[in-house]
Subunit: 523 residues, 2 copies
């Protein structure tokens, strides 16, 4: 954050509902907001993020483009009434975030800021020396049109990240696309047995306004759980993705329409997966009754409904209704195949544009001549225009990193911390009555020199046995452990242990620093 | 906190109402608690303090006296729905506290812990080099029987702190007592004109259960605002101190009793200030009708009431009903007089005893032989007893210190920070194109040597004029400012400024460090 020239702030966790109404997010966040009123019945929320607060603060303070770019960050608690809090700090209702907010006077300058923030995040995650993924992402509730997610693969992750084996394509499942596969291809999602090519199943969805019924036709070799609801949603934006089973909603929509005037008649959309082929589409259109286009006891006839057939996605490609699977074809290169990994989202960068500055009227004065699209109109040199600030927001889940890294690196003996976030880089553990020797060892390691920086270490001087303390150090997960035990007495050797690198060596004092630094450089 | 061997923790700001019910504090805090429910209608509060949470955590973890003493602290946000938030961070509804909680297995050990915590607090406040006061205090809602407050005198303070001019007596007004003054004394609260010695006024109070009416008789030379309600409350614990005017409550109590059975008759307490003398007491007892013992239109007779006359306080001293004023006599020494100062409470230490450990069943096993009051009963050497932990809690208002110190030290040119809490100890301010000279100066000051520690400094390298930057540094309130301006070019002199010490000197580079350190040592 210092390298970005960002200043540290600390905003209130209490935010007013009136403010959130101005950006239309009070409804959008729904039940995830903790809401309450104060003793005067003024309605508040516990802030899950701070775009509204920071935009208000900055709009009161910054009036001219000369004060921009401005970058502000904080490290503090956020609140979200999660429907399923789980895995300790990995998904909790009170959590710690580092959030950075950026303000620029033009889109061009804001995109430069975005790239700087993105590089800072990359450098930060690089220091963990863990195999993280940077995925192209959708912006969700936050808004804006450019965004990346930073993921750590983990078996307890709740996101699916898609990456290519050959090129640098990485995307969140919500955004990822697989290249459609020729019908006779034998990659995992393309295998269609010729005889069963028309063995289709239907998945039913419905629009939020309950006026569009959706039949998704897909090969019977897949199951309903394989349907890519993100892909459906990007082609049918009004689709209600919150329903696990749309059939009851269908049935009430059909009953309502059968008993009322025709303008309320629902529309029926048939989306046909490309794997089923043109023959299936033709059959469906000609003889819809051979397929369960409506539930068998529907109180309405097919002929009463406005039916549509969709075989191409909004992106103009043959409609792929099936979630990406390992081995699918990369959409960006011709050679690569895709890999699906469960992952934990650790960070997110967003270019927000003017979504919040428009809603909260956060504007700065800019010389009219500097505005990009003046279409060559002549302006007086001192003429000023007030434009909404271009914003970005960039978050890191601080407590979530702890949980994800703990899960990623723990083994049966305890935790393991990357050097960058370890409580201490090294633990020096003396045997009983070896305190003096431990002091010699630790003063050597904490000294800085031209070749070596000082090491941040802890000496375990508790009154306990050496095996107990070594066991405890394994539980805590110090990157490197230096044991000052019986071999020190006899030969002035320390035992240097590193569980992650499976290294255990007796090292004399004069090569101890070199040895420890060599290990730390890999952690 | 490190010197106390305290470990840092970070507790949730969300606490459950069910937990607070176990210690009876849910009601006690009343409207000051922000309350809300989650999506499953579970009731929560935003924690204003963390005794309940930490006691629960510790009781689940610590089982044996061998793990004690235990000291845990945090620095984080607290919430209180203040009826009158004011003065920015001085009294706000969301604020930052440093809170330390201590756990011991015996009262003796807990008192030792208390003294250690108290010394740590004294050392911390000493570093501010401000005239703070340590006052004996009452424990209020927190509970316990030993407590001190740490105050900074300030015109915007909401506490009154009483201190002696001669001895080390300092007490919060709630606890302070003045030594009764011989009747003919002419110290401020003792002046009674002989002729008017029986010119008395009455202040009316009532008990919370509305069954005890209270007449406080005091000399007419004082006013109702001079009544020491704290002193009254310590002698009449049931007194309702929340009423500004008890008369309406009196009247309804009298009406209710006049129309009902005798056991509900209120009791009338007459408290007589010692200044009025025995003659007044005699007169009141013999001819109560000459004084307005009841409101003149009371629906009841004096003879129907059980009347009592009180002339001595609960401490067994002649009853002093008047608030302490400057010049009153010190209760602890014979020579000193008292001084009343408005002050801001910055910190508070409490010995809690077993209030929370009893309520939350936080117990440890202790060898029975170690328990103090075994009355010499013989116990087996390995017999264990489970005793509630002895606790202490100790808080510092971090955001409030900022507000109080800002108020205490600001002048018309800007803020002023003590070295210990300044954002930077020194600001180096170069004139235009003097960046290189500023680098020379700052590298000299940031170097540590045997004689001088490194200075924590900021270089103002912003692109602005020297006068603008000097003005801005005054606003920010750096303890010392080093200007690298025109005299550097001509004579290699820096101008060193310290507004608080009214010092401004041109100093050559070779004596700069000594000069700056000499100033800092006083700040």
């Amino acid at each position: 954050m210092a390298r970005l020239g960002a200043s540290k702030v600390s905003l209130s966790s209490l935010s007013s509902q009136a403010l959130w109404q101005q950006t239309n997010r009070l409804e959008g966040y729904g039940e995830e907001l903790f809401r309450f009123t104060d003793r005067k019945d003024v309605p508040y929320i516990l802030a899950p993020t701070h775009e509204e607060e920071i935009t208000t603060l900055v709009s009161k303070t910054i009036k001219s483009y000369k004060s921009l770019p401005l970058r502000l960050y904080q490290i503090g608690r956020k609140y979200r009434d999660e429907i399923r809090p789980r895995h300790g700090v990995l998904r909790s209702r009170e959590f710690v975030m580092k959030d950075l907010y950026t303000f620029d006077h033009s889109r061009q300058s804001a995109l430069k800021t975005y790239e700087e923030a993105r590089s800072a995040y990359t450098r930060l995650f690089d220091e963990l020396k863990l195999p993280y993924l940077v995925a192209e992402a959708s912006s969700g509730d936050i808004g804006g049109d450019l965004s990346h997610e930073y993921h750590l693969p983990s078996s307890i992750g709740e996101d699916n990240v898609i990456s290519c084996t050959d090129c640098n394509y990485v995307a969140n499942e919500e955004l990822a696309t697989a290249r459609p596969i020729p019908l006779q291809d034998n990659s995992p999602s393309g295998v269609i047995d010729d005889k069963n090519s028309t063995a289709a199943q239907v998945w039913r969805g419905i629009s939020k306004d309950r006026k569009t019924l959706v039949n998704v036709w897909y090969p019977a070799s897949f199951s309903g759980a394989d349907i890519n609801t993100h892909a459906l949603q990007s082609s049918i934006p009004g689709l209600d993705s919150s329903l696990d089973n749309a059939l009851p909603a269908w049935e009430s929509a059909l009953s309502a329409s059968s008993s009322s005037i025709s303008e309320q008649q629902p529309r029926l959309l048939n989306i046909i997966d490309y794997r089923l082929g043109q023959q299936f589409v033709d059959g469906l259109q000609k003889e819809p009754n051979q397929f369960p286009t409506l539930p068998h006891d529907a109180p309405i006839n097919l002929s009463q409904l406005d039916q549509q057939y969709i075989t191409f996605s909004a992106q103009g490609e043959p409609f792929n209704t099936i979630r990406i699977r390992n081995g699918d074809h990369c959409p960006r290169c011709t050679s690569g195949t895709l890999k699906v990994q469960k992952a934990v989202e650790l960070g997110h960068t967003f270019h927000l544009g003017t979504k919040y500055s428009d809603a909260l009227n956060a504007r700065v004065e800019v010389p009219s001549a500097m505005i990009e699209d003046t279409h060559g109109a002549s302006t007086k040199p001192d003429q000023m225009t007030r434009v909404p600030m271009q914003m970005g927001c960039h978050g890191i889940g601080v407590s979530r990193i702890i949980g994800a890294v703990a899960d990623h690196l723990a083994d049966e003996r305890g935790l393991n911390w990357p050097r960058a976030i370890a409580p201490f880089e090294v633990a020096v553990i003396p045997g009983r009555k070896m305190e003096e020797a431990a002091a010699t060892v630790s003063s050597l390691l904490t000294e800085s020199s031209d070749n070596y920086p000082a090491i941040d270490l802890a000496v375990d001087d508790r009154d306990a046995s050496l095996p107990w303390k070594m066991n405890d150090a394994d539980l805590v997960g110090y990157p490197v452990i230096v044991v000052v035990g019986s071999k020190w007495k006899s030969e002035h050797l320390c035992e240097v242990q590193c569980r992650r690198l499976d290294s255990k060596e007796f090292v004399p004092l004069d090569s101890l620093r070199e040895h420890v630094h060599k290990l730390l450089a890999q952690l």
